[in-house]
């Protein structure tokens, strides 16, 4: 079913977007470009490829999409053995940096594809995040974003109605009260798949953006600022989510994907931390509420202090693409890879992804051309409005990241105080600073 829908929409897109296609490559026989990534989902990727191959009969794209934990192992093994594909999907920060030695500098590529002023097509937030973790003095781009994301909370509108709640919470106190009502009505109040570390980090950073707004960016960039009072305060709020049973029971053993997403789609969850990519489920889902998104609404993490403001826009690069030195070894493959890169980011590929509402476009001026309900349009427009203001959402150093995850889980389990956990992260960050 999914595949069929995807192919159909790909066909529709082709009709609409064909004129925008890049002129075909000059190479004689068909050139094969290999692509690895963890996202977009296979049906979307296949539709993107179909559109690209249609526009460029001389290019064959072979893509492999794997779940992220497997993908990262595959990349590592392949990088060591010279088996990397031509184009790799990358998250900003640690992942891009880990493979930087195998990636070509995309700055001249971007200039040749979109002209000298190409950076004006990207928002500052995305340009910053795409270069997260570059060595001092290196302002090159090694991966260019295809799609952007905003992280926020979603809520189930019918569940809220059933629990007698009128609007999503604006303060932490309201959130706690709503959680109690949702529990009483038989729902999991706020789903946190706390076994999935990255979602722990995101929830924590959303809180920290309120309690320590000036420390978050330095912390993400590897500075040892974890012992600041605002950080400890954020850890205390995180702890409260557990002690006041805002999160569902057994959160520490739960996965955000696929379990949390499935439960939310099945209507068992009141609130959950997801993001703009959740819109994609409208395109892929057979669940009626999801197809129109009319049952689902967005809100920001509530103000943790009375009279405070909710978390400001938070997000950045969803995923980007790098071209490997393996592609660069053959002029034909490199030329074809550049074309594929352009189609992924600003051409027929991205148009297909957008029409399936895969996530938000990173490249300015792109927009979905499928009909959307008023509700869906409102949610989408709001995302687009907030995207340029987004605060980066990635911790650049994997060791610090892991230490934060451990600390947050230990707090949730009641095995560590917020103070002790943050002191531990601070210790790790200092050690990392010393090592590098």
């Amino acid at each position: 079913m999914k595949l069929k829908t995807a192919l159909l929409s790909a066909g529709a897109v082709l009709l609409l977007a064909a004129p925008a296609a890049v002129p075909a490559a000059k190479a004689a026989g068909p050139v094969t470009v290999t692509v690895w990534s963890w996202t977009p989902v296979t049906p979307t990727m296949n539709a993107e490829i179909a559109a690209i191959e249609k526009a460029h009969p001389n290019i064959v794209v072979k893509a492999t999409i794997q779940p992220h934990p497997v993908y990262s192992v595959s990349l590592q093994a392949a990088a060591g053995s010279g088996n990397l594909p031509d184009i790799v999907g990358l998250s900003p920060g640690a992942e891009t940096q880990a493979y930087r030695p195998h990636l070509i500098n995309l700055t001249p590529v971007a200039e040749s594809l979109w002209g000298k002023n190409w950076q004006s097509h990207y928002s500052d937030a995305l340009l910053t995040e795409a270069r997260f973790g570059n060595p001092a003095g290196d302002s090159n781009f090694y991966a260019l974003p295809q799609e952007a994301q905003l992280n926020n909370l979603w809520y189930n509108i019918p569940a809220f109605k059933k629990a007698g709640i009128k609007a999503p919470p604006r303060t932490l106190a309201e959130m706690e009260a709503d959680a109690a009502k949702l529990r009483k009505a038989g729902y999991m109040p706020f789903y946190q798949g706390a076994a999935t570390g990255v979602f722990d980090v995101w929830t924590f950073l959303m809180i920290a953006l309120q309690t320590a707004p000036n420390a978050v960016l330095p912390a993400e960039q590897g500075q040892a600022v974890w012992d600041q009072p605002g950080m400890t305060e954020a850890a205390r709020v995180w702890q409260e989510l557990f002690t006041k049973q805002v999160v569902q029971p057994g959160a520490l053993s739960a996965l955000q994907y696929p379990t949390g997403a499935n439960l939310f789609a099945a209507g068992r969850v009141g609130m959950i931390g997801l993001g703009s990519w959740w819109l994609q489920e409208t395109g892929l889902s057979q669940v009626p509420g999801l197809k129109t998104m009319s049952d689902y609404g967005t809100f920001s993490f509530p103000a943790v202090k009375a009279g405070g403001k909710p978390t400001p826009p938070f997000g950045g690069v969803d995923f980007g693409w790098g071209i490997t030195d393996k592609a660069a070894a053959s002029p034909d493959v490199l030329a074809a890879s550049k074309i594929v890169l352009k189609e992924f980011i600003s051409g027929v590929g991205e148009q297909v992804a957008l029409n399936q509402l895969n996530d938000l476009p990173a490249f300015g001026g792109m927009k979905p051309t499928v009909p959307m309900s008023a509700h869906l349009t409102a949610v989408y427009e709001n995302y687009i409005k907030e995207l340029p203001l987004a605060h980066p959402h990635v911790i650049g150093n994997p060791v610090i990241n892991q230490s934060l995850i451990s600390g947050l889980q230990a707090i949730g389990a009641g095995k560590m105080t917020p103070e002790a956990a943050m002191a531990e992260v601070q210790k790790t960050a200092l050690a990392q600073q010393k090592a590098h």
Partner: protein
């Protein structure tokens, strides 16, 4: 009934029924989830209220599991074969041919008896990369065989130690060389212990996940243990389909075992494990 039904017989029966139920329920539950639609997937009941075959229809049409099965079968069978060759050779040389330094050799091999693959993974991965053998079947067969050699050698050498010298001598007087003696006299006599080693090695190889995760990065080469991950896809919102895949992955070897268990157990019964 041949035996009278005793109190302890009844108790044993009840105990076994309970144990069998515990051992089967997860599989039944897995199959059951594969029959549910997306909204019913998260019900704690063992048996679904609404049965749908849509998930099975979808995944059977999909049908790219065969490759995973094929890869696993190939690697497991080759690993068993290579392990047997290595183990028979080592045991024969140490036990019957009394190779010089045989004690040291045995000690060396046995010292790796409890060695987990995890402790060797990083150097093995690097070595295979150097040799260009990532994404090759031998990248799994080689290390898995190596891991199986210590246990196999302990078992088979012990069995060979018990063969009377006279049998061997008789064959030698008939003019047989050491290889002929091995094939005609020794191997048939230690066959039960070889079956034990083969079974252990097959199960180990069939279920090996860690090495495959690191070595097999190309889709076409992945063995069965990696298949669930592949279908779990982080954005998949169809537990029913996932569990249909899981059921299919589980049920094929289950049926194979039920059909083959008679020979399997007979092989074990003949020899058994001798410490």
């Amino acid at each position: 009934m041949r035996k009278p039904l005793t109190r302890s017989g009844l108790f044993a029966g009840a105990l076994l029924l309970a144990a069998t139920a515990v051992s089967l329920v997860p599989s039944i539950y897995m199959f059951d989830i594969s029959l549910r639609n997306a909204t019913d997937s998260f019900s704690p009941a063992l048996i679904a209220s609404h049965v749908t075959f849509a998930n099975w229809q979808a995944i059977l049409l999909h049908g790219d599991l065969a490759r995973f099965f094929l890869n696993s079968a190939l690697v497991s069978v080759a690993t068993v074969a290579l392990t047997l060759v290595c183990v028979i050779g080592l045991s024969y040389a140490i036990s019957r041919l009394r190779i010089k330094g045989g004690h040291i050799l045995l000690l060396l091999v046995v010292s790796a008896l409890l060695l987990p693959l995890a402790s060797l993974l990083v150097p093995i991965a690097k070595l295979l990369e150097m040799l260009g053998m990532t994404n090759s079947y031998f990248g799994l067969i080689g290390p898995e065989t190596a891991i199986g050699i210590p246990f196999g050698t302990v078992i088979v050498k012990a069995a060979m130690d018990e063969i009377p010298v006279a049998l061997e001598e008789a064959a030698r007087i008939d003019g047989a060389g050491s290889f002929a003696v091995l094939l005609r006299v020794v191997v048939p006599l230690v066959q039960p212990s070889l079956i034990v080693v083969a079974i252990w090695q097959f199960l180990y190889s069939w279920n090996e996940f860690f090495l495959a995760l690191v070595i097999m990065t190309r889709d076409a080469m992945k063995p069965l243990p990696l298949a669930p991950l592949y279908y779990q896809g982080p954005f998949m919102t169809d537990p029913g389909k996932l569990f249909a895949i899981l059921t299919l992955i589980a049920v094929v070897p289950m049926l194979a075992y039920i059909v083959l268990q008679r020979w399997f157990v007979a092989g074990l019964m003949e020899g058994g494990v001798k410490g």
